[in-house]
Subunit: 344 residues, 2 copies
DNA sequence: CCGTGTTACGGAAGCGCTTTCGTAAAGCGC
DNA sequence: GCGCTTTACGAAAGCGCTTCCGTAACACGG
């Protein structure tokens, strides 16, 4: 698309204010070397003219970059839109722009998006969402981000990645453990897990937490049916069909994300199976609708918006010697979808 | 934040390829005036070096802008995140970046965000979400956007605004009518409306549709309790409390958005009121969880993602003589939250 | 063989800003 | 009053790219 040329340049402001370009620039940037009187005058003229500096020129000239790139799987997914909301909120406070793009959980596409963001000379790149268990999947992205950091860019990631960058780490393992322990404490022994793509670290970690709890509960992890699918409602639904067919004795289902848990509930409702009387369901994430489902969903809350805020806040600080890592809390939220194991 | 200086410039590529800056630029832009052989060679060198052009320099130099600004109320709101998803999808196909910011439904903040987007020299600005009934509320935004268009920028809005720009118009009035007619056809006569801020055109339009249907149904619009609140779940919840208190004979509630309808359902559940046996509930929008609530929510579907796609698609076409306006469809989706008026 | 197009490329002028450097004016002690 | 530093400002050099213009090199018809 064609460039939009706003005729209004700093030169116009300078001329009208009767000062030089340099002085005008300094005045507007709030830099010193200009008397308060002149500075104020320039600012007034600029304001009155409705002048807005050209970011491109400003950045090119060696000023500062004021955009942050955010890569999410898909902004329509509540998990990511809540993270984005946190990022945008913090960005708004600092007058930064947030550029969002979709990775579609495709390492290749993710790489291309990173390239684009770098081309746009963002100062900060935030990668939200799970990393890949196989380091090779993200090798190119990693190289690009490392180069980006080497040249002064800041990177922070949300979730476990094979990247040397500041990281916000949702405690997926503890969250998984928490979900499993909750079911165990209710007496459930026949538990099934609706899992996600096993290439993702998030899946790996959550499963690890669940496995740990299961074993500590005296059960054998390998006896537990784990259905790998994708992180969507429909996958949850289909996985549930499979569980009902292959493991009819199941009394509790853990879905690795709330999105899938919604599908699980939907499938159970379609089959007329009472929740939690016959089967208990627990999710992970606590997306905002979890409380409004019926039965309301027992889940483990991860503070998505806060994670977004934190990720940007970390990136805004100067790079530290070694990458910072902040774990977020998690919190079991018991609602109506879980109950004691059915007697009999 | 400091600028990230990638040492890699087009000059480096040109030198390594043994051509001039001009030729290198042309080769990479795919412009003609370069032999295929040389062009291919330059492209290869660039690729191998991992060169990515500096957008700022490119834009400054009179190239084209490749960013679109999107203003939403709040990206965490499913209504807007679905719109954003559509915008980002189309943008991705064209290698455009999408900058998202929050207006918070505050005209002043909206104006500031527009300024920022303009400063970033976006070529396209998309304003999503309701306009304000009072033209003065958006006067400054309007002026800024008009100037933006005058200087070659493209603007499209989603929802009815007092702006001369291409518009995607969700048919709010018809949607409202549809919701009301559905309840009337089920025999409901004692209907209450959970409304939103009456400063918004969306509210005005949806109410108008409802009012029309009500009157055509032989009822008096002014007899219908309309509770103005804000567009949130919690407002829906509180409004419902008020309805139950002040209008206990109500048999059906229309919530102007699904978010509020979720709150309505929640309040009714808390009071142990059967839906739809005692009270029917209908929402508007059809956000993706509407189908998974229990009872699943009868609502009127607006194609949010498609609206986002359309808005960007329109803006990508050259400006037309008179602003284009595209109405979107709407579709009543009958689910379990509505039923015949209780006998007795 | 000359004039005229045509093609392929290089030189160089900006795009609008920041920033370094230079300089005039002002302030200071003696 | 003279030299010194300090302050307030202007001139000009880029930042990395696109694009206008100029110029060889070559092909063509007459």
């Amino acid at each position: 698309m064609p460039r939009s040329r706003s005729a209004l340049r700093l030169a116009d402001v300078a001329e009208l204010a009767g000062v030089s370009l340099a002085t005008a620039s300094r005045a507007l940037a709030g830099r010193d070397g200009v008397s308060d009187k002149v500075a104020e005058h320039v600012r007034q003229v600029a304001n009155q003219l409705g002048y807005v500096a050209n970011m491109h020129a400003r950045t090119l000239a060696g000023g500062s970059t004021s955009t942050v790139g955010l890569i999410v799987h898909e902004i329509g997914d509540p998990y990511f839109s809540e993270i984005a909301s946190g990022v945008i909120r913090v960005a708004g406070e600092r007058d930064l722009m947030v550029q969002i793009c979709h990775s579609g959980r495709d390492p290749e596409k993710e790489f291309r998006q990173i390239q684009t963001i770098i081309a746009h000379r963002a100062g900060i790149i935030i990668v939200a969402g799970s990393g890949y268990c196989d380091p090779r999947a993200q090798a190119r992205s990693k190289a690009a981000l490392t180069a980006f950091q080497a040249s002064g860019g800041r990177v922070s990631v949300i979730g476990r990645h094979h990247l040397t960058a500041d990281a916000v780490l949702p405690d997926n393992e503890a969250a998984g453990r928490s979900a499993a322990e909750h079911l165990l404490s209710l007496g459930h022994r026949r538990i099934a897990v609706v899992s996600g793509p096993d290439s993702l670290t998030t899946v790996e970690d959550r499963l690890a937490g669940i496995a740990g709890a299961i074993q500590r509960g005296g059960l054998t992890w390998s006896d537990i049916p784990v259905i790998p699918t994708s992180f969507t409602r429909d996958s949850g639904l289909q996985a549930t069909e499979q569980i009902l067919r292959d493991h009819p004795e199941t009394t509790a289902i853990i879905a690795l994300t709330d999105a899938m848990a919604i599908g699980v509930l939907s499938a159970l409702r379609a089959h007329g199976i009472a929740v939690p009387d016959r089967i208990s369901v627990v999710g992970l994430d606590d997306v905002s609708v979890a409380a409004d489902l019926a039965p309301s969903l027992t889940t483990v809350r991860l503070p998505m918006a806060a994670m977004g805020e934190l990720a940007l806040a970390m990136a805004l600080k100067p790079q530290s010697q070694r990458p910072r890592r902040k774990s977020t809390g998690h919190q079991l939220v018991v609602r109506d979808s879980t109950g004691p194991v059915p007697s009999g």
